[in-house]
Amino acid sequence: MTAPLIIFFVLATLAVGGALSLIFQKHPIHSALSLIVVMVALAGLYLLMGAEFVAAVQIIVYGGAIMVLFVFVIMLLNAGIEEHTNFSKLAGFPGLLLAFALTGFIAATIARSTDTVQAASQPGNMASTRDLSTMIFKDFVYPFELTSFLILVAVLGAIVLAQREAKP
């Protein structure tokens, strides 16, 4: 039991616990906070794998921007404990089964194709931010520019959609 392994299991338990909490909490604000826990745990896992830049971006963007947005919207809409309606017959037991089936499929499929994926080697010796940025601005510059355009569109869209109706 090496230290990385222990850290991994701790972080993994944290992540899974956060996800479970997201499912079983009744108030959406509690679900949002659980999600933040999951994201922090994942950031920790990224650090464990040696992807520092990604870990940082995860916390800053996901945790600091997106989840804050979620919390703002929850507070704006005065979301309360969700009411218990059950109009959908499929979303009960069959849905549970199907979700398990999907998980099992994916996990087993990938876990069995071990021949293509070996164990990780030394962490930290290649994921430098400089190399990452070189890659972004050299090989992936076109998608990069497109995503900046995408953000612009999203901002415009969000503003237009959420406007208050003009009073006559």
Partner: protein, 100 residues
């Protein structure tokens, strides 16, 4: 080191939990959050493979996923605000105008 399979299985579990939340939650914001959970699980898988194959493409892709998730969250939440104003409820089962 930690075998890549562990990360993959964890990713799968997180993804499955996201799917469960997607199916079982009734509050539309909670459903949205489950989508974010699924995206995160996928990000984990990408980074794990990127590390295993000693290439940086996985991480670049993760960055792009995060960016797109942000954009999608912004627009999606704007739509949720509109819908909540119109239907006076955040329960997804109340949005049933397509029902016969």
């Amino acid at each position: 080191m930690i075998p890549t399979n562990y990360y993959i299985v964890l990713s799968a579990i997180l993804f499955g939990l996201g799917v469960l939340a997607f199916i079982f939650k009734r509050n539309i914001i909670s459903i949205f959050m489950s989508i974010e959970l699924m995206l995160n699980a996928v990000n984990l898988a990408f980074v794990a493979f990127s590390q295993a194959m000693h290439k940086l493409d996985g991480q670049v892709f993760v960055l792009f996923v995060i960016v797109v998730a942000a954009a999608e969250a912004a627009v999606g939440l704007a739509i949720i605000i509109l819908t909540a104003r119109n239907r006076q409820s955040l329960n997804v089962e109340r949005v049933d105008l397509l029902k016969l």
